[in-house]
Assembly symmetry: C2
Homo-oligomer: 129 residues x 2
Amino acid sequence: MDTLLTIQQVADKTGLSEHTLRYYERIGLIESIDRADNGHRRYSDVDVGWIEFLKCLRATGMPVMQMKAYADLTRVGDHTIEARLELLKEHRRAVLAQIEEMQAYLSVVDYKIDYYTKEKERIETCSEN
Amino acid sequence: MDTLLTIQQVADKTGLSEHTLRYYERIGLIESIDRADNGHRRYSDVDVGWIEFLKCLRATGMPVMQMKAYADLTRVGDHTIEARLELLKEHRRAVLAQIEEMQAYLSVVDYKIDYYTKEKERIETCSEN
DNA sequence: TCTTGACTTAGAGCACACTCTAAGATGTAT
DNA sequence: ATACATCTTAGAGTGTGCTCTAAGTCAAGA
């Protein structure tokens, strides 16, 4: 199928707002989308797929400017595949490092939760007497 | 030991900037710190410990306003232990959920990395002939 | 015909978490 | 004495990523 979608439909489908979709296009994250006769945007399945991938990059914390660099690479041809690969691999490393950092910091929070749980029990035990 | 530290020493030790330390104090994340005769801040070990815990909350993505809520609870006495516990547990759930989300999105990035790796090999193989 | 609603643009505004500035007080070294 | 570093405050400024506004076009329905 190659049904073309309006911006509203794409917003619903992707969870990004219409504002954000236009913003992403303006800054070059999304290549200029086909237009209907009245000038309204018409998104193809390929466009939506690209937007979904952008979501993956954003949701994993990639800065918009880095996403722009990646987007630019995809537009200039196959000879940038190696560069794209490097960019994604580097991002992957960064994400895994960030997850590990969060887990390490979270373990301190866990420790505190443990402490409060015991403290709470102690207080409750005292008040029973 | 209960050596008192200057703001610069605490900045070095915690990795937060002096600006950030003052900012945290201003917005009530850090309780007002003891002063030397000349009005300069003098941080105790307990203060530094608290700041380190704040770092754990921030590094795991807790918004500053929620940290403020937690800080406020710690100041009004033992009867808020349950509330503090709930806040930390809720945060813990949120962090784990976020990590899972990131991992899910990252797996799409992994898929792309795989695709590009194969694509690159294919291109290299072609050019060998 | 009139209204409603979806869309367009350029550009302004906003929330968050800092980050920096300006002006001034104080302390130490030469 | 003088230079320099370190600190103080209140408040302004910054970067990021949206998010909203205003003014206008266009098409379908009552």
